[in-house]
Assembly symmetry: D2
Homo-oligomer: 342 residues x 4
């Protein structure tokens, strides 16, 4: 159910509607748009009698929402949500006219490795650094990440170089720490339906980057975002990272058609990760170009100065000089489609 307010509705009127919704036992979600505010209602299973709301001052209409997702839907908010990440070097935006650029190593391995790569991706123009402190690895015997020590190294990079930090949380405990040290909380593909973690991310004060699960349909992907949003965190960046198919020339099959598909149904920005999406170094550059051309709102790229010795995902990391080339090409294509790399 969705309450659409008049464009000239006052804050008092909006508040009054929210209180009425709460008094009926539901949870209101006011979502300000460019032209008007809409108020999503959650907590209802089945129809709600909102006759008393519909007649309140400032209300245009109450409309039932048939889609399983509500808050992430364009029905609730027509214009694009732009998620802004503040960094010492300035805000980086995902969505609208902006394509947010994120780069860095798969895993934080050491102070030297992290600073070496961070300097080079900053030189190439990126203002957001990715790097895992908690690594969900298929094998219990693989390098599992440096944990909080890694988060502290990431925070030092921000203090020293001014880069914003995006890093993954794998459970409630690590999410507490990631929220403390980083600027964007990443939820990985393997946890896209870890609903307990999604709910916790919904209470975080930092934006969430939510990766699509390896076999998630579009509906499941949007519903995972709905879990986060229904708990109150509206700053969500979706991210396509390849899906699992029979096709074996890449590690995953990057599904670029999901970008316009998300943008049609949802107001949320969607980024693309061509590194995990292909798993092959030589495919990262062409697929990055394609991602910008298709209209992605962000790019996540794995960069390593010594990929052959990387403790994780070396075969899909590109060299810093390749990343600089990638940024140049992405800028030109972004220009063609009326966007700017950010």
């Amino acid at each position: 159910m969705l309450v659409v307010m008049q464009s000239q509705a006052t804050n008092e009127q909006i508040d009054a509607v929210c209180r009425r919704i709460e008094s009926l036992g539901f949870k209101p979600h006011p979502i300000p748009g460019v032209g008007r505010t809409a108020i999503g209602i959650t907590g209802n299973n089945g129809p709600v009698d909102l006759a008393t709301v519909e007649s309140m001052p400032g209300v245009v209409e109450c409309i039932p929402v048939s889609k399983p997702y509500k808050l992430v839907s364009r029905d609730v908010k027509q214009d694009d949500s732009v998620v802004s990440v503040s960094t010492p070097l300035g805000d980086v935006e995902f969505g609208g006219k902006s394509v947010g650029m994120v780069a860095g190593p798969c895993a934080v391995e050491s102070r030297d490795q992290l600073f070496a790569i961070a300097r080079q991706v900053k030189d190439a123009g990126a203002r957001l650094l990715r790097g895992g402190a908690y690594k969900p690895r298929t094998s219990p015997y693989s390098f599992q990440g440096l944990g909080e020590e890694g988060l502290k190294l990431l925070a030092q990079v921000r203090d020293t170089l001014g880069l914003g930090i995006i890093t993954e949380a794998v459970d409630n405990e690590s999410l507490d720490l990631v929220e403390k040290y980083a600027d964007v909380i990443q939820i990985g593909a393997r946890n896209m339906q870890n609903f307990s973690l999604l709910k916790r991310a919904g209470h975080a004060q930092k934006p969430v980057l939510l990766k699509r699960g390896m076999s998630a349909t579009l509906d499941e992907f949007l519903m995972a975002a709905e879990y986060v949003m229904s708990e109150g965190n509206y700053k969500i960046i979706l991210c396509e990272r390849g899906v699992r198919t029979f096709s074996d020339h890449t590690r995953n099959t990057l599904d670029l058609s999901v970008v316009p598909a998300v943008q049609r149904l949802s107001h949320l920005p969607i980024a693309v990760d061509p590194s995990h999406g292909t798993g092959r170094r030589d495919k990262v550059l062409p697929l990055s170009r394609a991602a910008v051309a298709v209209g992605a709102d962000g790019l996540l790229v794995e960069v390593h100065h010594d990929p052959d010795r990387a403790l994780s995902d070396g075969p899909q990391s590109i060299l810093p000089e390749e990343f600089a080339e990638l940024v140049r090409e992405a800028r030109e294509i972004a220009h063609v489609v009326g966007r700017r790399i950010n």
Copy 2:
């Protein structure tokens, strides 16, 4: 790395080898077999110099293990692991000659619903009851389960009817409670690579039923079990529940070939869940027969006395009388393949 002990090696010799391994900075996993004990070694990345171990009394040989999984592998333990679940009605075994039978509703909905179904599946011959208190649902607006209240109802069923209880844990908090109230801890398909949860399950004192992820390869499935086992919990029942494919006549595609594939590589028992594996009531009976025929070590079946009003997964639940028929047919086919329903 694997240390194979002589068949007549004493407990003292085995202990001595374990202490030596620990002193080298690794973790020993003694795994008693029918004929002899093997000791798996974890904690090593890359080769280990075990010259000093190889020459110890009672040791036959130290062999490198090339597969990514070790403890779950037949290399470590040749004979089938039989996982035994103790219930007031007697032990229920999975593996070896035994096919463990589990039945019950998808979700615990109420005391009346649970007891009604529990009585009927007990009458049909089952001694293990399934039923979710914590439900991982695609939508945040769907019924999420009764939580601890549901666990208490399940415990009452055991106290009253003598059935053993198997129910799902979705995060560390719920796992603590499930371990307290239930007899088997279920890890669901969506959490198969929730490594934080797998590690916690590895410290539990109860057997774990680990479901295959929707797009998990056989290696990933076995590696998930390796996560649990490497933390010390060796009582694991694997469970095939359908994988995600293009095929749309069933909700998932039940991959029965994974049963002999697991049994070839691993000593762990593997059960089949034809209810989630097909998502269609009329497919549950034929696929249950096929699961027993292919050699499954267990069956998990959703049964509901009023499927059309079930709060979760009604379309795939069978009626109690259909379950009684299923048990009859399963017994006959089990007999043909030299097994018994348990």
Copy 3:
């Protein structure tokens, strides 16, 4: 559109209705059932005005058929179609109470090879021999089959040993020859949507065994059979042989749930090919048991007396003695589900 005749309708009445349908520019397909005859109508795009038909003597009703397939549908014919293959050793049936058994080498390689294997599968109880004279191979440099020479060898086996012959046609030319020499015409998975070949098979006087394409949905599978049937050949045996998924422990993923799914929608019999369906010798026996248990109407098994030297598909062929064991187990399971191996 479907015309349902009275159970006591005479042949003259049925003929009269067919002529009326033809005079309206459509094609009638009289399909005799146990209780009554139905007449399918094809050649119409969109609704047909059959008022003049509905009032003819012997007609019960004219009902519109909404499914894209008509002739293969249970709407047209309620009872199972039993496809009978006549061999010098007696008729072999697929469907109803009968599970047809077919065995033999992947490819006809030589007279000696063929007779050696044929004798052994006959000894084990099979009366139908499979063996390819035209082999659709992924590589142009692989053995492509003996062609007509191979067909002649197959015909010699029938003359000498009495076994019926099933072999694949790959184009119109080879279909002419297969129809001449063999008892059942096989259309392979790669040609399931070779509509030109399907139409030609629809004019053949021999039964057709139609394999499911590697990525065919159930609807596409049934529509391919509809192509054959709409040209007038009603003797079709469908065959599941594995579909292509991400799963890599078998060459294909055998989708046994398609057996009850076909049987629900269509009156046609459906067999299972566990050899191609798994691509692994050690999986053929357990999956054959499962196929019979799930209710398959036939089994196609690759048998080779010297698999390591087979010119095609050696890794999935079982030995003659394994086949004898397979027949024994299949018989017992068929008995449990009220069927008999044929």
Copy 4:
């Protein structure tokens, strides 16, 4: 096996080597490159003793080829093959610096429809018209195309407007006619492993556009091209058109990563069909941009002036004015990646 000739080798020397290869019972395939000629050898199963060839004048070396495909491989020919299609309006190239543009309706429906669309795609800048006269349709009751009548209409378009024609052949009979009337012979996805048809196309005197099968791996795709090439037709344009996965927001999943993957292994050009690749009108424009950005050597787009009344594939056809916009954007992106739309 591959014979590499000296860069200054004469035609006589090359001919002599070919005759020697023939005299040994094999088939030589001289493939001229920019710098030198290589001669592929087919017809051998297993190793070949070419000692007498290696010592002939003009020969640099004989190297064994380990990949299953030979003639399509970069091992045989290092530089890109550019396939040139001659039209009354001038040659259209696929490969090298050129991105060939093809547009038109899914099916030829009538003279008026075809000319209306042809004029508009010509106005937008295309010089190659696509349009099916033989339609492989899932249902036997769907419009199957106009057949030779459709081919004649296509030929009239070429005579009148100067556009080159590309249209599909579905069997040997239609291929004879397509070769006669059209400029490029299309082999559809459903026939990618119709090896009989591939061999016939290998004898054609016109270029072949070969679409990837719905579940074809990269190796199978290249092997299908190898079938055509091993019969002597070296003018092949590959075409990605989406593969079948679990993902349901588009009809197929367009696998753009196959473009750089093909270009790494093969010298053949590869085009992209975003219309079949997505099945959704609103996805065609963004995925066309992405295809050019990723490096595709051609684009095939379905255009219809009245998509809602199209007899085939209306939901994925774009309007002529959308196509004009597509060409504009494709030109700009092609410029960024150093290519030109052709």
